[in-house]
């Protein structure tokens, strides 16, 4: 092997953007988009709540079936959050952009929130419909494993202190987490075929008058996800900026 010389990888931090409260251009853009999303979210949530309320009761499952309007849409958020984490982490490693690292944090935290809600609503519905809380259904299992991966991700971040090393550790672990999603599905497909989830929830299995509340659910939780990610991103940027300002004022600490 010939020894090669690697140019120094530098992190481009954004403390220079003092006039914008520490936000990078990308983060400013995100903040601008957050506002309309927030208003849209409020309107859709109201319509959605009303739609779910007036949707016909399922004659076999009863009121518990209404969890269906919440549970599947949560999945998009859960998985998308982890995709955002991996992409943000990769961009950080590749470009050294701190704002991408902050995006990765918000993806993981909001993803964990959605994942947790999914793991809570799923068993409640399963108890009412399939008769038991936990069934080791493939999707449930993969989601649970993913949940552990991202809790480990957050733990890794919180136990290695601030600084670029933590961000790099997290970025690499985020990539491993993303790779694990298809790997785990692959494992379950090979060894374990006990799926209880309906294959095509969208078509067929929903009764009359249930389709559009379901659609609204997707829309509403999708917007909620985007809004929360953007909000968390901005909060992280402002928090880091504020800490820097405080540290500047007291250089001896």
């Amino acid at each position: 092997m010939t020894p090669m010389t690697k140019p120094f990888s530098q992190t481009k931090d954004d403390s220079a953007h003092t006039t914008n409260g520490g936000l990078s251009p990308l983060e400013q853009q995100a903040t601008r988009w957050r506002q309309p999303f927030g208003w849209l979210l409020v309107v859709i949530t109201l319509v959605y709540a009303w739609a779910v309320f007036q949707a016909p009761l399922d004659h076999t499952q009863g009121v518990i079936q209404k969890i269906l309007y919440v549970h599947p849409p949560l999945a998009y958020g859960a998985y998308l959050g982890f995709v955002i984490t991996a992409i943000g982490g990769l961009l950080y490693l590749w470009r050294g952009r701190e704002d991408c690292d902050r995006l990765a944090i918000s993806g993981a935290e909001v993803g964990v929130l959605f994942c947790t809600l999914m793991l809570v609503t799923g068993p409640i519905w399963a108890r009412g419909t399939w008769g038991r809380w936990w069934s080791w259904d493939p999707r449930l299992t993969v989601t649970l494993l993913l949940w552990f991966v991202y809790l480990a991700y957050l733990l890794l971040r919180s136990f290695s202190g601030p600084g670029p090393r933590t961000a790099r550790f997290a970025a690499i672990y985020g990539v491993i987490g993303l790779v694990l999603i298809p790997l785990n599905y692959y494992v379950i497909e090979i060894f374990d075929n006990r799926s209880m989830h309906p294959d095509n929830l969208e078509r067929g299995s929903l009764g009359d008058g249930m389709g559009w509340p379901f659609l609204l659910g997707n829309l509403c939780l999708g917007f909620a996800f985007i809004y929360l990610v953007l909000l968390r991103w901005e909060v992280e940027a402002r928090r880091v900026f504020q800490q820097r300002q405080e540290a500047l004022e007291e250089p001896d600490t």
Partner: protein, 232 residues
């Protein structure tokens, strides 16, 4: 005009919200020796680790002989010895030589043991060495690939008096042989005696610079005391 051995331009290093170094610029020529003097926590060690390539600067550029950073040009001795206690002195050096791609590692190891006067203990495990012996072996380790620039981080810490004078003597020998180095220390006397130029580092910045005839222990000590006063 040839480019200097080491050139730092506006180096800044932040750990999360805390800025450890700011606006560090510095040139070091071939054969030049510089000492960095400052109280604990001033950022000297951080600077040395950046030059070693063990930490990346948050901002600023670092050039070695006019090109990008090259680990082959750097020999580093930190607070710790970087030695493996289970390996003998000779094995430690052979291992380091192989890591750095030195041709004929065993011959280089023997040569270094000879130079640092460690040949009699070559087959003893490093774990049983006294602090002074371990430090001599650590210096041999840092020089294993004949680096153009030697980085020394408080090399006198923990040594007894004979070991200190021996190490000072050795550093002067190396300097006379044309070895460049950056020495980090908090002791005024040694900062003045062992280097061509002394930089006082306070709060992550270079506060004063003394070189040539003005670099005497008395001079440096007065200026250092004044700088410390100003700080507090």
């Amino acid at each position: 005009m040839t480019s200097p051995l080491l050139r730092l331009k506006d180096i800044e290093k932040a750990y999360g919200p805390i800025t450890a170094l700011r606006n560090i610029s510095l040139d070091l020529d071939h054969g030049e020796t510089i000492s960095l003097l400052g109280p604990n926590g001033a950022g000297k060690s951080t600077l040395l680790r950046i030059v070693a390539g063990l930490a990346a600067p948050t901002r600023g550029t670092l050039e070695i002989q006019g090109t990008a950073h090259d680990r082959r040009a750097i020999g580093y001795l930190g607070h710790a010895t970087l030695l493996y206690p289970e390996l003998t002195a000779r094995e430690n050096l052979i291992f380091a030589a192989r890591l750095h791609g030195v041709p004929k590692p065993a011959r280089r190891a023997d040569q270094l043991l000879e130079e640092e006067d460690l040949s009699p203990v070559a087959q003893r495990r490093a774990g049983g060495f006294s602090r002074g012996m371990a430090q001599r072996l650590a210096i041999a380790r840092a020089r294993v690939h004949k680096p153009s620039l030697l980085l020394l981080d408080e090399p006198f810490t923990g040594l007894d008096v004979p070991a200190i004078s021996r190490l000072s003597q050795r550093l002067i020998e190396l300097r006379n042989a044309g070895q460049s180095w950056l020495l980090v220390t908090h002791e005024v006397e040694r900062a003045a005696m062992l280097a061509d130029t002394a930089l006082i580092v306070l709060r992550g910045q270079v506060a004063e610079r003394l070189t040539g005839g003005e670099l005497t222990p008395q001079n440096l000590s007065e200026i250092y005391a004044k700088a410390l006063d100003l700080q507090s």
